[in-house]
């Protein structure tokens, strides 16, 4: 069953320089129990896409299209109904930076908050439930009494994960969940997150779906079922994770995959490849295919018209004139 559907979703920001489009017509499905990776450089619109799901974008943002969770359009939902959906059906793992947790509240209270709000757990069971959640993410239950500043970055990120799992939501949105951590801790936290989501999917409650956002295609390739690659606010390629990583079709995905050389691959080590130039500013996009100024295989027609996202293989789509030609 389809858990979440984006239908022609656009997010525009009103700024002093006019309308800045951050997301441009994204259509995307996430099945129940599936982990979808969204890859792309900073500023490609992946965070706007994720924040749009629970309508957490600032007031300057204009959202068009549809976002259906279990078939119900979240964008047309009443605020009261939306508040009931928030966290109980879709929760977010925020970046574990210190600012995501309230600095003057004990973490136990912060984890218990959505439980008290959405579930009918008796008050005397709440502490035990918070303890369970903390143990689940590998922290001692006694940590509930700590304040955020008393925890390390990795521990704080574990708290964020425990909080996201508190109401057993059907969907978890993890926006760069490990960016603020150092490399060793990154791997631990990511394993923990994907492990817990998979366990929940195997359980009797049905599947727990996840959107995992990262700029690291290698990480997404090993942890996700499917990957969608975003560039300048649009999906430019999507398909099964390993296929995307091993055999990218779009020249941008190819560059992204090559930017993370695999350990033990001397060829990649001695000839690191990157992508020249910077991603375009969303308020000033190039004509035609928005990737053409940086594309190594661009032809004349790329400048004039934008390629549509089309099926290029079973379960795979790409938006490029040169694919399979």
């Amino acid at each position: 069953m389809t858990l979440l559907q984006f239908r022609d979703l656009s997010v525009d920001y009103a700024s002093s320089e006019g309308i800045v489009p951050a997301v441009r017509g994204v259509t995307l499905d996430i099945e129940a129990g599936e982990t979808l990776g969204i890859a792309g450089e900073s500023g490609c619109g992946k965070t706007s896409l994720a924040s749009a799901v629970l309508r957490l974008l600032p007031e300057t943002a204009q959202v068009r299209g549809e976002i259906r969770l279990d078939g119900v359009d979240l964008l047309r939902m009443k605020w009261g109904t939306l508040r009931a959906v928030r966290w109980s059906q879709a929760a977010i793992v925020f970046q574990g930076a210190l600012h995501a947790l309230n600095p003057v509240q004990r973490i136990g209270d912060q984890i218990a908050e959505p439980i008290r709000l959405h579930q009918t757990v008796p008050e005397k069971r709440i502490n035990a439930r918070v303890g369970e959640l903390l143990t689940q993410v590998g922290l001692p239950a006694s940590r509930a009494k700590s304040y955020p500043h008393q925890l390390s970055g990795g521990q704080r990120q574990r708290v964020m994960i425990a909080m996201a799992l508190a109401c057993k939501p059907a969907l978890i949105i993890a926006d760069e969940p490990t960016t603020a951590l150092d490399v060793m801790v990154q791997a631990q936290v990511l394993d923990l997150l994907t492990g817990l989501v998979r366990n929940a999917s195997a359980g009797p409650d049905g599947g727990m779906g996840m959107i995992l956002i990262s700029h690291d295609l290698g990480v997404l390739g090993t942890t996700c079922d499917r990957i969608a690659v975003m560039y300048a606010g649009q999906i430019i390629e999507s398909g099964p994770a390993l296929e995307i990583f091993d055999n990218p079709k779009h020249p941008y995905t190819r560059a992204l995959a090559a930017a993370f050389p695999r350990i033990g691959d001397p060829a990649a080590r001695y000839a690191p490849t990157g992508l020249p130039g910077d991603p375009p500013f969303p308020g000033d996009l190039p004509t035609g295919c928005s990737f053409h100024p940086r594309c190594p295989i661009a032809v004349g027609s790329c400048r004039d018209s934008a390629p549509a996202l089309v099926h290029v293989a079973p379960h795979r789509t790409a938006a490029c004139f040169k694919v399979d030609s």
């Binding site: 957490l56 977010i92 925020f94 947790l101 600095p103 509240q105 008393q150």
Partner: protein
């Protein structure tokens, strides 16, 4: 720094031996440190009385302390409650109707000299103007002859308290409202508020549980740090309303100038400000867990 000759004042009206005066004057040429120690010791010297009232200085300060504590305590309490409330409402929706009206009003109040506002209130509500009858007494702490220890006497004191207290409240709530507003505006951008919203909390709860406890930290500190300025406000407002507190006593002592009395008052004000700052620091420890560890 003060005009007037202290020796001359001391000798005024007394039959002093010129040699003794020379001796006194020589004391002013002693090393600064020694003079400073003398300055600290003098207010506690029971033989040095007020030159104007010829009474022990601490006795006078003791009598005047309670009216000032009553006036300032009531004013600061009301000003912080009202000011913080206004600041929260304005800062949560900056640019909104309430914010535009309240920020405009508080800025005007903030820039007003308190003695001027006091005089205006006095003219309108005590003397009576613009068709408003004079409802409040022109000055003093109670009507002469009323027993202030009876319940009727307390009401009489409260009635006298209304105008001076309102003056101070209007001036100080402006300060507190503006600080609370700006620290709440700073908090609004914090990511933990987005998290609180994502959890499904309604807007009022996001504000009450998450934004306000954080925004209160700088405001509470500022309220205590502002007590130093409150003292200066007390001097002018007590003078305008003849409120028999330390402020009025300062004003009376300044007209002398009554040096022994002034020194004792200044020493006490300084200690009060230092203690207020200390309380501010200690409160921070109570409110902010980050400072505690």
């Amino acid at each position: 720094m003060l005009p007037g000759d202290p020796i001359g004042l001391y000798a005024r009206g007394r039959n002093q031996d010129p040699e003794q005066l020379v001796e006194l004057r020589r004391a002013l040429n002693k090393p600064l440190l020694e003079q400073f120690l003398t300055y600290l010791r003098n207010p506690f010297d029971s033989t040095i009385d007020s030159t104007r009232f010829s009474r022990p200085v601490w006795e006078m300060i003791g009598e005047r302390l309670w009216p000032t504590l009553l006036l300032l305590g009531t004013a600061i309490l009301l000003a912080s409650i009202i000011g913080i409330w206004i600041g929260i409402r304005a800062g949560w929706k900056p640019g909104g109707r309430f914010d535009r009206i309240s920020t405009g009003t508080t800025l005007i109040l903030y820039s007003m000299p308190e003695f001027w506002l006091g005089m205006m209130l006095l003219i309108v509500f005590s003397v009576g103007a613009f068709g408003i009858p004079g409802m409040f007494p022109v000055g003093g702490i109670s009507t002469p002859g009323v027993d202030t220890s009876s319940p009727m006497g307390w009401l009489n004191v409260l009635w006298h308290l209304v105008l001076p207290c309102t003056t101070l409240v209007l001036i100080y709530l402006a300060d507190y409202a503006l600080v609370m507003r700006s620290s709440l505006i700073d908090e609004r951008k914090q990511e933990y508020l987005t998290l609180a919203r994502a959890k499904g909390l309604r807007d009022a709860m996001v504000r009450k549980r998450h934004a306000v406890p954080n925004a209160l930290l700088p405001t509470v500190t500022l309220i205590f740090l502002s007590l130093g300025f409150v003292v200066t406000g007390a001097i002018t407002v007590e003078t305008v309303f003849s409120w028999p507190g330390l402020g009025l006593l300062t004003y009376e002592a300044l007209r002398g100038p009554d040096i022994p009395l002034l020194q004792a008052i200044f020493l006490m004000f300084s200690i009060a400000v230092i203690v207020a700052n200390l309380i501010a620091e200690l409160l921070y420890v109570v409110f902010d867990p980050r400072v505690r560890s």
